[in-house]
Symmetry: C2
Subunit: 584 residues, 2 copies
């Protein structure tokens, strides 16, 4: 139906007879001549219709934006004053001899390039929104990313193996999407939150190297950057340790960024321990582009009369920390008020600070700290005139979250980045976190191997570390994995520590426990969040920008109006009933 | 953890110090020496443990089948009389200096290479079953197939775009799997039976070329070769007609078979019309390896006294057809009885035949037909001495199904194949099939474009053909697609003919109908059944042989015991209730 793409025409095609297909991006009538900008997936070409081609001209008068056309014509050079050097096809135009309207279009409900259209309207008419060059580019980028990943994995001898979508419910923290079974009355499948157990079974099956780019499902309350269905590059391998796995994956990520984004990541990614990350940056996914870090000032605050500081400083679960911002003395009172509100989201009751003005330190709290302690803080934070020092003093968790997030907000507001790309491996995670009731929860999942032996783990679970690793780029956790438990005894120990008794374990993943008894190899793996990676690479802030047909924050599709009600007959067939009163 | 793979060791590695990892395939004690066959994903190597390495020997005595080992040792040549030319590593063995037991194994519940194990046991212990070389090979083949497909599609500028799994229920004949929504109380998502509507929307979005290898779901009663979740290569393109699409896809299939199976398919696949396929072979997925075809004998049977034949011959919905089998006169009476039973599955009330023996035609029915008609049948079928002619006489549908399936059964039993690979495109499908109540159903789906204009379609829907195409290889439908309707009016006409009124259409796929109004390009596509293709390529007869974790025929997973019951709390959260009495 076409001989060329609109976007690929250039001076080398001069005088060629061409056939083009595409959409009318814009129509202009100028000096008795009709100009059409026609768009296809490669770009835009200008079509000229002269009144001397009378029939075609008459037809062209009926043409509106977004009509679909097939154009026959000749490539000619534009007059010098008409050359548009901003677009690749700007030196030529196509003199139409014949136009076929393949389809008409009603006036579209919003202007494609208008940034004022609400996201709701864009999602409802997603097929129009996707015509925008930006969206086309992002989905092309996404396709390139998966292509690169697959090539890399294939060339490293990993096998692409599909795991099931209709699976057994597993307890991985967040909620399962359930699927009623028709043939097994009253029973349910669950959509996988990840192929974790199946990829481990594939290692037990002797495949040794597995990968898959696969949809996963989590029925959580949706945050800005989450979707109920998301995609991951899922990887598992036998007979490789954490150094080997992280090196190989690092090589892939480095290659990916170079190939797809022309971005040079460091030849060896730095690493940081979980403990140090929390201590310095307050979060386990530190954004290393930001040259700010917390400084512990507990010791010097223990005896100050300022209870807000001395209280937490003397509490074993408390923390007093300082965050110095170079040049921050110019931050206004109003801005400080805004930051105080901001840290309150994380439970902080206030935001103390010291400004280092030309005439010395200034702050409402100096009088409570005394000059001596104030000087010690200045020394510890290496602050200079013109800087500001913020403080957090509360339970450690509150201080870390408040100052950790404040650090990122300050960096964003004041553009405090000292590099464009900062990948880092976070290592040495604890095995467990302790709930308020003293029970243990797995930080990653119950199949993560500890880096200590059974006895040490049982004696001191809270201080035991795991063999897990997360990859963080620019403050976004793009991947995470671990060496798995491959021995039955250790798996039972961990489940017991997690408070999962034999019966529960058997019911939930007895098949995995059985499989550990039949020659399970040492193995480990990783999963990368594809949506997050593509967001990072395309530097967009909404996950919906990198998904063709995303859901809203309430997990609905505005385009198809899903989810929707279904017939009673369908439900009867599945042996289920909706327990709500019918709404009229 | 390893320096080499077991299966890759050969004479070039002689004297090398190696580290290997793998499973014990077999242990033998011979002449005071222990031999271990150790298996990894590349193959098997023989490990030798001499009593003079006392500690290692002692450890080796405790080793059983399927233990996981790390072996350190030296590659040495086998004694001449010990060389095994059947395996790649048969000229060498590894003299172990150190063995580390990475994991032990309980005795496994069945012998991996025993063919007597029931499929039920194999599926329950799928992770052991998958250790078999055959299963490893098939899943490797599958991975190669998808790799080839993706390369082909990418290099032809198709974009890999993901479509949603949590979608709106659509009416495509078979039953939807439903997913209750937690956030939208009382509403449901459906798992996609195919991404049909989304891929059409992508064309309306201007992507022009889309593909995806994607899971689809159908909650049907399961036949031998169906799974509730299955995978397809899904393709859609704008501005290409059926010739262009089928040529390109044919090129992919030809390349795939060559690359993955070293199979030469013809340089141009033959085509056949739906009508001719039914007429000659009784089915719309003819196995063209079989040199048998039906011959219409209606005309000569109209006046015979044998009512069994003259009845259908004079009925406009009836058919009398002959199927000649060369050399078939040797088929025994008992075999004919078996075939008679076989065709009764398809509703045939008997299976008349004429044998052409040395001494002339012989059959219980000749006396009813008369010599003249018998001779005409022989002439029409070009039968010769030694042949047999089978007859079908009934409603056309019964005759076609009975003789069509008999044709395939005869070919299978008597090995009547005249080529190894026979692809064929089936074209010119009718738009509709007529139900017994006179209503029309779409043969493909309601979005398939007719090859006639609206008026002709409305005037004579039953005789109107569609722009659909199916690819059949060796009697298996491996792919099917069509040019889609791209104009709103035509789509409404087809929906009206299908008895779908405006309200129903709006509720079910109003978004698609809307989208047709905003500049929808001409487009079409195809989907290939990946499981079926891999089955064909690996020449296995069970779909479960090409899926890592398949479901049984009742849509259950014997390994994980899914589907299963869930807690009342989970159901309450989803606002649904099981309507069965609780079973104790």
């Amino acid at each position: 139906m076409r001989t060329h793409f609109c976007g690929e025409l250039n001076k080398s095609d001069l005088n060629s007879q061409v056939k083009l297909c595409g959409w009318v991006n814009r129509r202009r009538d100028h000096g008795g001549v009709i100009f059409l900008d026609v768009r296809d997936k490669k770009g835009i070409a200008q079509i000229v219709i002269n009144p001397d081609t009378a029939n075609t001209f008459k037809l062209a008068e009926t043409i509106r934006n977004e009509f679909v056309l097939q154009i026959t014509g000749q490539v000619v050079a534009r007059a010098n004053e008409m050359v548009n050097s901003k677009i690749p096809t700007g030196e030529i135009e196509v003199l139409a001899s014949h136009i076929e309207i393949l389809n008409s279009s009603k006036p579209i409900p919003f202007q494609l390039d208008s940034m004022e259209t609400s996201e709701e309207v864009r999602l409802k008419y997603r097929y129009l929104d996707l015509r925008r060059e930006e969206m086309q580019k992002r989905l092309r980028l996404r396709s390139k990313v998966t292509h690169f990943m697959r090539d890399f994995m294939d060339s490293n001898d990993f096998l692409d193996i599909e795991t099931p979508f209709l699976t057994k419910a597993t307890p991985e923290g967040a909620r399962d999407y359930l699927v009623p079974s028709r043939t097994h009355e009253g029973n349910f499948f669950a959509l996988p939150q990840s192929p974790q157990l199946f990829k481990q079974l594939l290692m037990m099956s002797g495949f040794e190297r597995y990968y898959q780019i696969v949809k996963c499902f989590r029925d959580e309350d949706l945050r800005a950057d989450r979707q109920p269905e998301f995609t991951q590059l899922d990887v598992e391998t036998s007979f490789m340790n954490e150094d080997e796995i992280t090196s190989l994956m690092e090589e892939m990520i480095r290659g990916l960024f170079k190939e797809v984004g022309n971005i040079d990541l460091p030849s060896k990614f730095p690493t940081i321990s979980y403990k140090k990350a929390i201590n310095l940056y307050g979060v386990d996914r530190p954004d290393m582009r930001i040259p700010l870090h917390m400084v512990d000032v507990n010791d010097i605050m223990k005896d100050v009369e300022f209870k807000v500081f001395s209280g937490p400083a003397n509490n074993k679960n408390g923390r007093v920390a300082a965050l110095k911002v170079e040049g921050g003395a110019s931050i206004s009172r109003k801005q400080i008020d805004d930051y105080t509100k901001y840290v309150s989201i994380y439970g902080a009751k206030g935001l103390a600070y010291i400004k280092l003005n030309e005439d010395g330190p200034s702050s409402p709290i100096i009088k409570f700290l005394g000059d001596d302690v104030t000087q010690k803080v200045i020394d510890l934070t290496e602050a200079k005139t013109g800087d500001i020092i913020f403080f957090g003093a509360d339970k450690s968790k509150v201080v870390n979250e408040a100052l950790g997030n404040l650090r990122e907000k300050l960096a964003h507001d004041l553009n405090l980045y000292n590099k464009e790309w900062a990948p880092i491996w976070v290592l040495d995670f604890p095995m467990f976190e302790v709930s308020d009731d003293g029970s243990l929860n797995a930080i990653h999942h119950p199949f993560t191997a500890p880096s200590v032996d059974s006895k040490t783990l049982i004696d001191n679970p809270e201080d035991s570390l795991s063999r897990a690793y997360d990859l963080v780029i620019n403050g976004s956790e793009v991947g995470g994995g671990s060496i798995r438990i491959h021995q039955s005894d250790m798996q039972k120990t961990v489940l017991t520590l997690l408070g999962i008794d034999d019966e529960e374990a058997k019911e939930k993943f007895g098949f995995l426990l059985d499989a550990l008894d039949y020659g399970c190899p040492p193995h480990g793996g990783i999963a990368f969040g594809l949506d997050r990676l593509v967001m990072t690479l395309s530097q967009t802030e909404s996950i919906r920008d990198v998904i063709a047909f995303p859901k809203t924050q309430t997990a609905a599709c505005l385009l198809t109006d899903a989810p929707s009600s279904v017939s009673k007959a369908q439900l009867k067939d599945l042996n289920i009933k909706v327990t709500l009163p019918t709404r009229v």
